[in-house]
């Protein structure tokens, strides 16, 4: 009898290893499989038991309850703790899993499992295609950079393909620093081969023979699993023409900005570069370089395997395909929700998220990480779409939605936005380096009611200066959460 015990960070932090150990100590003939997580984080550790109809789910299992759960033998569908078939859980059944199709289903580092579930089909197709046609397929899919900037991936690849150079690189940005986002981690921990496959295809498309995955130091398990997967893929011959290695970052948020990331990969301080030249022309070590987020690259295999038409059929407006939304913070049902663009924020927060974990009304949602606006409930009918979010001064970013309940002190969150920018500024440009520190001070004055009205005007001016004058998105966008709080929660700042 197969029993699945997830082994991603979320499940492990809730005692998944202890569950696996307890299962092996039972006097039952069990085959304990360590799968990844389905991304239904609020149910972790989610134990799955094979049955004739499919895999049955048992959520929030505590290691201490294993002996009771298995007291009458392997529990079946009639057991009080059984959630039913995992695939039929509405949270999962209502999703469109294209990029995260395999997570939680397969054993993360089993190449056979990966291939049995459609792995390397995209690569086989790509190998039969001319480089320009691979790029054309990515362009036709409508895929836009999932790291946050939403730049069309195909156009970026075309630029690198067209660039002349004896050497080109594929760099995967796995420096997922935005609070409220964790899908890169899920992919790397639960389906690492899909990222490897995406990078090999990118290499074929632009003529690059070397790649780096720059992964944050805060993700030790993801780094470990990627290294294992790379070794396995290499042994199987997949990396014969593409050298791939993981590089560990060192705790700087700014290194998620692509030019800082390249500086860091080169062994330097992670300070941003002036643009132009674009990294696509002069990137890593001065060579033409594709820099893509984990999710962008992990979406490539499905696009190639099933054709760009199928991918771009999903979506809304100019936002094509699916977005891997991550529900986070004070949400009842936090987890990964991969859906086509076009759902409303309310559907995500209520139908999937089920409201707040504390049971109190939602006060605001911060979308797109620490540089994204706080969105009030009055705007929850906004559709998930890059342009629709932009219209209300918000951003989709990497797809994180952090929920806050009505007890949140929004003035404090504005203060934190500036504080975070001050901590993480690379220091290269003045509006960001100094502006963020001044921002903290001005907000302090407003909050202690020192010439509050004058200081509000000053804060507005300061925010505008940072937006207009900063070199990159950190200083250029850190004011947005502050401005959104001044606009929508004016009695709190």
């Amino acid at each position: 009898m197969k029993i699945y015990v997830p082994n991603d960070s979320t499940a492990l932090a809730q005692g998944a290893d202890d569950i696996a150990r307890a299962l092996t100590e039972l006097d039952l003939d069990l085959n304990v499989v360590r799968n990844g997580s389905r991304g239904l984080c609020w149910l972790e550790p989610l134990l799955e038991i094979d049955s004739p109809e499919g895999r049955l789910g048992f959520g929030r299992v505590d290691p201490d309850e294993i002996s009771a759960l298995f007291a009458q033998g392997v529990p079946d569908r009639s057991h009080a703790r059984c959630l039913g078939l995992v695939e039929e859980l509405p949270y999962l059944a209502k999703q469109t899993r294209l990029t995260a199709a395999r997570i939680g289903i397969i054993e993360p580092t089993s190449l056979a499992d990966y291939i049995a579930h459609g792995g390397f089909e995209g690569l086989s197709k790509a190998k039969e295609m001319a480089a320009a046609n691979i790029v054309a397929a990515v362009t036709a899919s409508g895929l836009r950079g999932r790291g946050g900037a939403a730049f069309p991936t195909g156009i970026k690849w075309q630029t690198v393909l067209d660039a002349t150079g004896d050497k080109k690189y594929i760099v995967c940005n796995a420096d997922e620093g935005d609070s409220g986002t964790y899908v890169d981690r899920l992919i790397m921990e639960c389906d690492p081969f899909v990222l490897i496959e995406g990078m090999i295809i990118a290499g074929l498309a632009v003529g690059a023979d070397q790649g780096f995955i720059y992964c944050r130091a805060e993700y030790p398990l993801a780094i470990d699993r990627l290294q294992q997967a790379i070794e396995i893929a290499d042994d199987a011959g997949y990396l014969d023409n593409f050298a791939l290695q993981v590089r560990k970052a060192a705790g700087a948020y700014i290194c998620g900005e692509e030019t800082s990331l390249l500086e860091s990969l080169e062994g330097k301080r992670g300070q941003i570069r002036f643009r132009p030249p674009l990294p696509a022309i002069e990137g890593l070590f001065g060579k033409p370089t594709v820099v893509n987020n984990v999710i962008s690259l992990a979406s490539i295999p499905t696009i190639l395997a099933h054709g760009p038409e199928r991918y771009q059929e999903y979506g809304s407006g100019r936002s094509r395909g699916t977005l891997t939304v991550q529900l986070a913070g004070n949400t009842k049902h936090g987890g990964l929700v991969e859906v086509p663009f076009g759902l409303s924020l309310r559907q995500l927060l209520e139908d999937f998220g089920g409201g707040t974990a504390t049971g109190l009304p939602i006060k605001a949602v911060q979308a797109g990480g620490p540089l994204g606006a706080y969105i009030p409930p009055a705007q929850f009918d906004t559709l998930l779409d890059y342009e629709a979010f932009k219209e209300i001064g918000a951003m989709v970013g990497h797809g994180g939605l952090v929920v806050f309940d009505e007890n949140t002190d929004m003035g404090h969150m504005a203060h934190f936005a500036m504080e975070f920018c001050a901590v993480e500024s690379c220091g290269k440009c003045t509006p960001c380096r100094i502006g963020s520190v001044r921002g903290v001070e001005v907000i302090d004055r407003i909050r202690s009611d020192e010439q509050a009205q004058d200081n509000r005007i000053l804060l507005h001016d300061l925010c505008q200066t940072m937006i207009d004058g900063s070199l990159c998105a950190l200083g250029g966008m850190a004011p947005y959460p502050v401005l959104s709080i001044m606009e929508h929660f004016s009695d709190e700042l």
């Binding site: 960070s9 979320t10 492990l12 932090a13 809730q14 984080c41 609020w42 997922e176 620093g177 935005d178 609070s179 409220g180 986002t181 964790y182 890169d184 981690r185 944050r216 130091a217 805060e218 030790p220 398990l221 590089r247 560990k248 970052a249 060192a250 705790g251 700087a252 948020y253 860091s264 990969l265 080169e266 062994g267 330097k268 301080r269 992670g270 300070q271 070590f285 991550q326 529900l327 986070a328 913070g329 004070n330 949400t331 936090g334 987890g335 974990a357 911060q366 620490p370 994180g400 952090v402 929920v403 806050f404 309940d405 949140t408 969150m413 934190f416 975070f420 901590v423 993480e424 690379c426």
Partner: protein
């Protein structure tokens, strides 16, 4: 370990990595993994190996929060300060830990068992608040549950 020993060990750790493209970060990580921090004595050795100035190597070390330049406690406790954890009470958790250990961020508890560091997101934002102790993640942490873990660590260290 004497200064000479540190330099020797640094050389042994750094030499196989010197020809890696962009070798400095991998070398610094390897040194920190070995020593628990990056000793001052290592800087000149690394600089010479990579044909950099000591100032350049120092500049890189000081840029990144992950790199430590002095020995810390036997374990490092990273408390997430980012928004998703704040939405679930991270600020109160942080205050209670600081009070319990009697230290602020970047300091080590008096018994030498734990160094406290802030971190901005551990990527487990649906099960907040989160902390990490060395490589081990703890989620849905409460002041009480964390106090229990810290007590066990303190006992081990003594």
């Amino acid at each position: 370990m004497t200064n000479v020993d540190i330099k020797q060990v640094t050389l042994e750790i750094a030499t196989p990595l010197l020809n890696e493209p962009g070798a400095l970060l991998p070398i610094l990580h390897a040194l920190q993994d070995h020593f628990g921090y990056i000793p001052t004595e290592s800087v000149a050795v690394v600089a010479r190996g990579l044909n950099l100035s000591r100032a350049e190597v120092h500049g890189v070390i000081s840029f990144y929060d992950w790199f430590q330049t002095a020995p810390g406690g036997s374990k490092t406790l990273y408390i997430c300060r980012a928004e998703a954890c704040q939405a679930m009470g991270a600020a109160a958790l942080e205050a209670s830990v600081k009070k319990l250990l009697g230290i602020d961020f970047h300091q080590t508890s008096r018994d030498g068992s734990v160094t406290l560091q802030p971190v901005y997101c551990l990527g487990n934002c649906a099960c907040s608040p989160n902390v990490m102790i060395d490589d081990k993640l703890y989620s849905r942490v409460t002041a009480e549950s964390l106090a229990g873990v810290l007590a066990a660590i303190s006992e081990q260290a003594s």
